[in-house]
């Protein structure tokens, strides 16, 4: 326990505490001093505050690593440059393409993309619905003088109106049901891959790969159980269903910073990497001394020399050049040439 406190990262601890306090302030503001806060959701709120703390802590520690710090700084530097409009637009397009639609997974496998897209879409819509509800930012009230018109309020302000029993009401009140169906189908598809793909079977781990899928299915099934209970069982099993659902969701929230779900937040760095690549190409390409062809941006090669030196690797050569000036093919050829010379000098190529 003492070791845990000794290894705490102060900078990350401060940022995570600020993030957690910010959430509490936003809850107080959004729910109008808890006036619109649903006390039944207190356990979910505590889980979410912990998740925010954990995510902010891990993100902060992650950003302190030299390569991550460099990408973080470069991404903002290039985004906030004179080319802001083009990079902002590019990032927005990529956000839809790669974050919301995960288009890069499609070339890895069509079924894999469908499974991941269903799973991710279900999760993202569920986050968008449950977080504002848990924080008390969204609540529903009856229109004054009416028994059939519902108002949706956001931060205490009326944001929309719909009739009870209307298709909008049906879709809205069952939003999490649709999410559960998407997540369950997606998670089962991903599980099938993990049961049949030899490569995955060899490298997967329970806590890294199976636990997240099991958790997502458990959340979905217990969530569907709540709907089933109030729709068909007159609420007879409500307590059991609500408690099991809360347990699974809170386990999920607490697990986010530690496990596979953290990739949801890491994935955004892909946008920064894209800007870095485009700006690097504009600034000029590095040419390999062996192949005499451009292979990467000059900025990237120079940045890598600095990062690797920060990490304790020194690839400087006696002639003032650097091994990292070579392209991957140039490096392989340099190794083969050195091996050839060593064999030649020994007088025997084989044996």
């Amino acid at each position: 326990m003492l070791k845990l406190f000794q290894t705490l990262n102060t900078q990350a601890l401060i940022k995570a505490t600020i993030a957690a306090i910010a959430v509490v302030i936003l809850v107080l503001a959004g729910s109008r001093n808890l006036q619109n806060f649903d006390a039944a959701l207190i356990a979910y709120l505590l889980g979410t505050v912990f998740a925010v703390f954990g995510i902010a802590y891990r993100y902060s520690v992650w950003l302190q690593r030299p390569p991550t710090r460099l990408y973080w700084r470069r991404s903002w530097q290039f985004l906030l440059s004179k080319d802001f409009p083009s990079y902002a637009w590019r990032s927005l397009v990529l956000f839809f393409k790669n974050i919301l639609f995960q288009r890069f997974i499609y070339p890895r496998g069509k079924t894999r993309w469908i499974g991941h897209f269903l799973l991710a879409t279900g999760c993202l819509i569920a986050f968008a619905v449950t977080i504002p509800l848990t924080f008390g930012w969204v609540h529903f009230t009856l229109e004054q003088g009416s028994f059939s018109t519902y108002n949706a309020n956001f931060f205490g302000f009326k944001a929309g109106t719909f009739e009870l029993g209307s298709p909008i009401a049906f879709l809205t009140f069952h939003a999490l049901v649709w999410c559960s169906v998407l997540v369950t189908i997606g998670a089962v598809m991903m599980m099938k891959r993990r049961l049949t793909n030899g490569g995955l079977i060899a490298t997967q781990t329970f806590e890294g790969d199976w636990l997240p899928l099991i958790l997502l299915i458990a959340i979905s099934i217990t969530g569907l159980g709540i709907s089933y209970d109030y729709t068909f069982l007159q609420g007879r099993t409500h307590q059991f269903m609500s408690v099991t659902h809360a347990v699974t969701v809170i386990l999920f929230l607490v697990w986010i910073p530690f496990g596979k779900f953290f990739h949801i937040f890491q994935r955004l760095a892909q946008l920064g990497a894209n800007i870095y690549k485009v700006e690097g190409e504009r600034r000029g390409m590095a040419v390999c001394p062996h192949t005499l062809e451009p292979f990467a941006s000059h900025t990237h090669v120079e940045d890598l020399k600095n990062i690797s030196r920060d990490l304790g690797f020194d690839f400087r050569l006696e002639n003032g050049k650097n091994h990292l000036d070579f392209s991957p093919e140039g490096k392989r050829s340099a190794l083969a040439k050195a091996h050839f010379e060593a064999r030649k000098n020994s007088g025997k190529f084989f044996g």
């Binding site: 890069f104 890598l304 091994h323 990292l324 490096k331 190794l335 091996h339």
Partner: protein, 189 residues
């Protein structure tokens, strides 16, 4: 890793002077299921204008992998057996840091997938006690997977070396390169 049948007595030995450029390893590599059935081995002419020499390169599985160190997404990990695994697909952001920093020029960036991929010593096979695909098909034994005793009997005038010098930097690897007897390292630059 779940499967523990990895045989730590077995080692990988590479000797590019024995490479005849037949590309059998390239075809076999595509059978590896941990690569998603894409070939990860590199085989090409060294300097086609002056020589027909070809070279073959697998991941050398460095003791302190530069690729994993420069990865901004913590996507590359080394396991207890010393195998440096290909990028974790959920984490890799396709930045190419590993591709450009690897001193052996091994990782490949798949642009459409925005993913780094590399040889992970056929982990689906080696973790089950089998040999990597490339080493099982190489007709000239430029790629060999076996014990130290076996290789010393087969190559009495050579010695396996796993230390490489790239300028100021020394790199130690799990995979060995066969060098003339008496060698302790290979100075690349």
């Amino acid at each position: 890793m779940p499967n523990t049948k990895y045989n730590q007595q077995m080692e990988f030995f590479i000797d590019m002077q024995r490479c005849i450029g037949c590309h059998a390893c390239e075809m076999a590599c595509a059978e590896c299921e941990t690569n998603g059935q894409e070939s990860m081995i590199h085989i090409h002419y060294v300097d086609r204008a002056v020589s027909v020499q070809t070279t073959v390169q697998v991941c050398m599985h460095c003791e302190d992998p530069v690729c994993a160190n420069v990865c901004p997404a913590d996507a590359i990990t080394k396991d207890d057996f010393g195998v440096v695994h290909t990028a974790n697909t959920s984490r890799c952001i396709g930045c190419s840091n590993c591709v450009l920093a690897c001193p052996f020029g091994v990782p490949i960036k798949s642009e459409p997938q925005e993913l780094m991929m590399k040889c992970n010593m056929c982990y689906d096979r080696t973790s089950a006690g089998k040999k990597p695909m490339c080493a099982t098909v190489c007709p000239s034994q430029a790629l060999y997977y076996g014990t130290r005793e076996e290789i010393s009997k087969m190559r009495p005038d050579s010695v396996p070396v796993n230390t490489f010098q790239f300028g100021e930097q020394e790199v130690k690897t799990k995979v060995n390169i066969m060098m003339p007897k008496g060698s302790t390292h290979l100075k690349v630059h």
